[in-house]
């Protein structure tokens, strides 16, 4: 089992923090512009499409949202999406079968991740690995917090992250970026761009590789094995007329990683992912706009392991998920203060993977409607709802309401309440897996009656813990009601302050539970709607720009994330612990319950961005902190309590500097994890100090 864990860690751990390199490509024109632009105007210009599926000014939005601009990405010399997400207030990257984002205290499973509005797939165990995404061709990253299933359906329970990639720019240009750093890490990116009249084309390519690293010298294994990956992106846009446009984009990602879980076994992990997105837009008149989207994507992994000694077969596995989604959307704006958007679409998904006895297919048609209005001068109200039908689980109705009221020019109050859900995934419904070395079995909900019958006939079952009849219905979608209430205060153009309180009540959380015991002493597990969980907290963000060349920002999140049945169990005195092995057990008190795993009570960040126009040098220093968290029930009472071992709180400090020599040349230097923080016991994803240099050429 430790081998299994090790494999998992080796597989993907990797990328977190592991800012190897990544030159951020950009166009020549932009570089010139950004050094001229004042920061003030940039802020006014910030618009976001994710929150409402229409273009909205970020600062006037009634929802919790944040934008990471291309300029920030470029200045911090970031490489992978996970690097940037980890620096944002209230977000942290959690390593669990990949680098997943934790948002408002909810796991990666509950955050929808989009590229240009279309979902990324490939959650082999729930986590969507953000290190898969290079930031080389990103225009901006839009983050919307709070349940947003009213627009996006499943998975948008904690929120949505939308990666907006660059569109072809006017003229002909190109860019070459290269970053080299510690761990023999290379990252090379190139962009070619052409746009004239009606036709625009941009192509992007990125290659990323590293030797990996080893935090634990006591064995012959590496903490993270070497890997290399490539990303290719092509976008073609054609404007038939002022009112009619078409765009087609395709993206391909491939990664190869060594896979050496033990000293006796060696193999490879391979990921192949592609997506294609066709968008057609027709502006009928000033009031009516029509959109047609066709999206398809495939995520595929293959792994194998052979014995090192004679290269003979040990094991292999695969995962092959395909999604197809057509959608039609109509926007109607009868007047300046009222707008509607409506959409209808259909999602078709299939998955073929190891340990599945069949190849399940999901079909889910959906329809949604949103009304955005300003009934009076200072008030903005958004009402929306979506209905998702599904062939394998209960249909979902997801309403949402949000409003923002400007009390004065400086102070605004905003609040929202929304329903979010996450459909049971293929694994939770169809898995049929028996661990070959330990002997336990995990069965998907829909497979329970059949598999239990087979096991009983084979004489492998000792006792049935949960009767098979409990598995006759449908597994319910995990769902939540999310509340956000915030105040924005902007006393001057240079100072802004925002505070937001949130609460997410999650019902029908799916968890594994023992359903039978086997004659080999092991258990049979399945998935069942069992838990009620809540996450609540407060997020604070402030930005201060004392001059146009200096920006200071700070963010903080307070978080309580707890399982309601655990709270009750502690209150009822049903939970015990020992001070150490050999000492008698004692009752734990209510206040001894720490909460869910991997949640820090406090997370904070501080950033300083400085630009020296005369020397054309920009520099920044960023600190991210998270307080102690538990990853493991060390005293084995099934709950995370104050007597368990915790990962100590820590801070990571990153420094980046860039000098622009001309319109064509920019050089960078930086140190990620300046103080060389590592924790070989608990955190395999932080490799220690990484020093790099970066070159960027525009043509």
């Amino acid at each position: 089992m430790s081998n299994l864990l090790r494999m998992i860690l080796n597989k993907n751990v990797f990328f977190i923090y592991f800012s190897i390199l990544l030159s951020v490509s950009s166009f020549g024109q932009e570089i010139v512009r950004s050094s001229i632009d004042s920061t003030y105007t940039e802020e006014l210009d910030e618009v976001i499409v994710t929150a409402t599926r229409t273009t909205r000014q970020l600062s006037s939005l009634p929802l919790q949202a944040h934008i990471v601009t291309n300029k920030e990405i470029k200045n911090i010399n970031s490489l992978r999406l996970s690097d940037i997400i980890n620096e944002q207030t209230g977000l942290t990257i959690v390593q669990d079968h990949g680098d997943g984002v934790q948002m408002q205290g909810l796991d990666s499973d509950y955050t929808l991740v989009l590229i240009d509005g279309a979902p990324l797939i490939g959650r082999t165990a729930g986590t969507l690995d953000l290190s898969r995404v290079t930031v080389g061709n990103i225009q901006q990253i839009e983050i919307v917090k709070g349940a947003t299933s009213s627009l996006y359906g499943s998975e948008a329970l904690a929120g949505v992250i939308n990666i907006i990639t660059k569109n072809p720019q006017q003229g002909f240009g190109g860019n070459l970026g290269y970053r080299y750093g510690t761990l023999n890490s290379h990252d090379i990116s190139t962009t070619l761009n052409y746009k004239k009249n009606k036709l625009g084309i941009s192509g992007f390519a990125n290659g990323n590789s590293t030797d990996g690293y080893d935090l634990n010298e006591s064995d012959d294994l590496q903490t993270v094995d070497p890997y290399h990956n490539y990303t290719f992106n092509l976008k073609v846009g054609y404007d038939f007329s002022e009112n009619t446009s078409l765009s087609l984009s395709g993206r391909y990602f491939t990664e190869n990683q060594d896979y050496i879980p033990t000293e006796d076994l060696a193999g490879k992990n391979r990921i192949n992912e592609w997506n294609a997105h066709l968008k057609f837009n027709e502006k009928f008149n000033e009031k009516w706009n029509g959109y047609l989207d066709f999206y398809t994507t495939r995520y595929k992994t293959d792994s194998y392991l052979n014995y090192t000694e004679d290269d003979s077969y040990y094991s292999d596995s695969f995962f092959d998920q395909i999604m197809l989604r057509p959608e039609v959307r109509i926007a109607f704006e009868p007047s300046k203060n009222h707008s509607f958007i409506a959409g209808v679409g259909w999602t078709h998904e299939s998955l073929d993977r190891t340990d599945f006895s069949n190849k399940p297919i999901f079909d889910a048609p959906y329809v949604y409607l949103q009304y955005d209005s300003k009934p009076i001068e200072n008030l903005n109200v958004i009402l929306g709802a979506r209905f998702d039908a599904h062939n394998k689980y209960e249909s979902q109705f997801s309403p949402k309401a949000a409003l923002r009221y400007e009390i004065t020019d400086e102070i605004a109050i905003k609040g929202s309440v929304g329903y979010g859900y996450k459909a049971p995934d293929f694994r939770q419904l169809y898995l049929d897996f028996t661990n070959s070395t330990v002997g336990y079995t995990v069965i998907g909900y829909n497979r329970v009656p059949n598999v239990i019958e087979e096991l009983e006939e084979a004489g492998q079952i000792t006792t049935i813990v949960a009767p098979v009849t409990e598995f006759n219905g449908n597994l319910k979608a995990e769902n939540s009601l999310g509340f956000n209430l915030g105040i924005q205060y902007k006393p001057s153009t240079s100072l802004s302050f925002e505070i937001n309180a949130f609460r997410n009540n999650i019902h029908d959380l799916i968890d594994t539970q023992v359903i039978a015991t086997k004659t080999n002493g092991q258990n049979v597990y399945s998935y069942i709607n069992i838990n009620e969980v809540y996450t609540q907290g407060v997020e604070i963000n402030t930005t201060y720009r004392p001059s146009r060349n200096l920006t200071l920002s700070a963010g903080y999140q307070l978080l309580y994330a707890k399982d309601k049945s655990a709270v009750n169990a502690f209150e009822n005195g049903e939970i015990f612990a020992r001070l150490n092995t050999g000492s008698p057990s004692f009752h734990l008190q209510k206040e001894d319950y720490f909460g869910l795993y991997n949640r820090s009570r406090h997370m904070a960040n501080g950033k300083v961005f400085y630009n020296h126009p005369k020397s054309k040098i920009d520099a920044n220093l960023r600190i991210t902190y998270r307080s102690k968290y538990g990853i493991y029930d060390t005293n084995n009472n099934n709950y995370l309590d104050d007597y368990d071992s915790f990962v100590d709180g820590f801070a990571i400090c990153d420094l980046a500097m860039n000098k622009t020599f001309s319109e064509h040349l920019r050089l960078g230097f930086g140190v990620d994890n300046l103080f060389d923080f590592t924790d070989s016991d608990y955190i395999t994803s932080i490799p220690g100090r990484l020093i790099y240099v970066k070159l960027n050429i525009n043509f």
Partner: protein, 205 residues
């Protein structure tokens, strides 16, 4: 294996209850709290066969003497690996399984050791052909197995209550499964606290 006996006169309360009645009261024996350390319950497993062949002698323990015993009848519970069987009920058909000759039974209660002050007669079960009274498997009985660290922990708050082969009662809290309670040492060494009620028919501790 070492046994410590500490007389802590838990019987006072029992005596107190009956002290107002007449002078014919039988003299009750003291209830003693004891600790057994490093009881070695070796089990071997041969994984080259399918299913694996599990073997080893069951180490029998007698509460009244507070010692392990070789006796074929005068024992209450027996240990092998993580398995604990009682001298009462049906055989499961294991290799080296001792013959059950007594009336022993058991149940597990969630509580602290000190808080278990009386037995619950209706909760007792005996070993059966399918399952031990002290159910086996991680999380099902007295221990939790961590599949990452491979460590077996005596689950906190699991108190084992026994009826002995001859109808007395005892309560047990297992503390550790490792030699000297150190998980870096060899496993299959039990350390446990127990209280034995030596007085016939007395159902309190």
């Amino acid at each position: 294996m070492k046994t410590f006996k500490i007389s802590i006169l838990l019987a006072i309360s029992i005596l107190g209850l009956s002290s107002c009645s007449d002078d014919d009261d039988p003299v009750l024996l003291d209830v003693e709290s004891s600790q057994v350390t490093n009881l070695h319950a070796e089990q071997t497993s041969d994984y080259t066969t399918s299913p694996p062949t599990v073997a080893g002698e069951f180490i029998k323990f007698d509460f009244s003497s507070g010692n392990t015993t070789e006796s074929s009848t005068d024992w209450d519970i027996a240990f092998r690996g993580t398995s604990i069987l009682v001298n009462g009920g049906e055989a499961m058909g294991l290799v080296s399984e001792p013959e059950r000759t007594g009336e022993a039974a058991a149940y597990i209660v969630d509580d602290t050791f000190a808080s278990v002050l009386s037995i619950s007669e209706g909760s007792f079960v005996q070993d059966s052909a399918e399952e031990f009274a002290i159910t086996s498997g991680s999380g099902n009985g007295w221990y939790t197995y961590d599949s990452t660290t491979h460590i077996i922990t005596a689950t906190a708050g699991k108190i084992l209550v026994f009826r002995t082969a001859d109808g007395h009662f005892a309560k047990v809290e297992i503390l550790s499964y490792y030699y000297d309670g150190d998980t870096s040492n060899d496993s299959q060494y039990y350390t446990f606290n127990y209280v034995y009620q030596p007085n016939e028919g007395v159902t309190t501790f």
